[in-house]
Amino acid sequence: MPAETHLERGPLGPDDVLAIIREQLSEILEIDDSRVVREARFSEDLAADSLALIELVEVLEQELGERTVGFSVDDEDLADLKTVGDAVDYVVSRLDAGKMSA
């Protein structure tokens, strides 16, 4: 989903972020996107290693950075993100924080 489409749709909610993560992570891991659900654990269920997660972060920063200026992910926070749901909630909170400071 290109960033321009998001702009036309207004603020991103958890479902939108999940859709973006699902699309990007399934491409990175070469897996069916139906496996990327909120409950899925990165390591145990999806076999996503740290490099795969960094790939995801870079794509998200690129895509969402166009929407929320300065959107970024702290590498130190990655260790706390165990599931897809954790990542969705984290991204939503960072987007909200970005809006507040804008």
């Binding site: 070469e30 076999a47 490099l51």
Partner: protein, 331 residues
């Protein structure tokens, strides 16, 4: 035909930038390639003859990733580092390939994050060329890129290693072995057993091989996960160093041995060149969307010259496209 341009990480390696720049200049002179030296302008430019030879340019990059930096984090934070800018140059089409003798993990992460993965490839793998005395070399894949491998990853490593062996060793049908703890298909852990089943369909697969088949002509490509591959590679290096120490120690053991050494040692040193890491041309990161050659940390100008040669060969053979087609063809 377009002249190949190689982006060289001028700040990467124990002997950078001096040996790196010297190797780049040799590559322009001896291989007819163009090079872009990426690094701090004020440190690189003074090492060039004036005027700079045709085919040599400098791309200023302010940051340097040290050998002991945590690779992924450094690549994320030091976006203006020489190695990241090399990968970016390939991604943007300013260069056809990159060469780095710096932090291996950083070169790998830079290539992966900037060039992207080849469509269909799950994880990249490092292919290393191992010398085989009196025979063409052998390829080890993966030598350390992707550690927690699945059987499917090993299958893809074999596909990529096969393509690379066809290019680098000029073999029509390389013999591929799966590194395990016994030759029988049932030997090894679950990863190896499952991988053996998948690989049995692959042309050229000869079955399991053992550590003792390293640097021996029984097999052309040794396939394993990155953790095992790196341990095996370092073990072989350590064993060779230990053996050399024993052999050369013998010539110090008595006046007679010392006299014999005066005759034999020059021949032994000549033979030892087979194992000179400067001559192997570096390791190639396979599965990323461009050509990335990683030379060893203590690279001399000769090592850089050889690494640039490998990079140019991989560009000419379009290794990334070969990998993509091989992976796509395997479904």
């Amino acid at each position: 035909m377009k002249t190949c341009t190689v982006a060289i990480d001028a700040m990467g390696g124990d002997r950078a930038p001096g040996e790196i720049v010297a190797g780049a200049l040799r590559a322009v002179d001896e291989l007819g390639v163009r090079v872009t030296l990426v690094g701090r302008q004020e440190e690189v430019a003074p090492l060039l003859p004036s005027p700079a030879p045709e085919g040599v340019s400098v791309l200023d990059a302010r940051d340097v990733i040290a050998m002991d930096d945590e690779p992924v984090s450094a690549v994320r934070k030091k976006k203006d580092s020489s190695v990241v800018r090399c990968a970016q140059a390939v991604r943007d089409g300013a260069a056809d390939a990159m060469v780095s003798a710096g932090n291996t993990g950083a070169a790998m992460a830079s290539a992966l994050l900037r060039m992207g993965r080849v469509k269909g490839v799950v994880r990249p793998a490092i292919a290393v060329v191992l010398p085989v005395p009196g025979h063409h070399p052998q390829i080890l894949i993966d030598a350390g890129a992707s550690t927690d491998a699945s059987p499917e990853w090993l299958f893809q490593f074999a596909l990529m290693g096969r393509e690379y062996a066809q290019v680098r060793l000029a073999l029509d049908e390389p013999r591929i072995g799966l590194l395990s703890i016994g030759e029988e298909p049932g030997k090894g852990d679950e990863l190896r057993k499952h991988a053996h089943t998948l690989l049995s369909e692959l042309p050229g697969f000869v079955g399991n091989v053992e550590g003792r088949d390293f640097m021996h002509p029984e097999v052309d490509v040794v396939v394993t996960d990155g953790f095992t591959g790196n341990v095996a590679l370092k073990t072989a290096e350590g064993a060779l160093r230990s053996l050399a120490s024993v052999v050369f120690g013998v010539f110090e053991s008595s006046p007679e041995a010392k006299a014999a050494g005066e005759v034999v040692i020059p021949k032994l040193l000549e033979a030892a060149e087979t194992y000179d890491p400067d001559l192997t041309g570096g390791a190639v990161l396979l599965g990323v969307g461009g050509v990335c050659v990683i030379s060893h940390g203590a690279s001399s100008s000769l090592a850089i010259l050889k690494a640039v040669g490998v990079a140019a060969d991989c560009v000419a053979a379009d290794v990334p496209t070969r990998v993509r087609e091989a992976v796509a063809g395997a479904g």
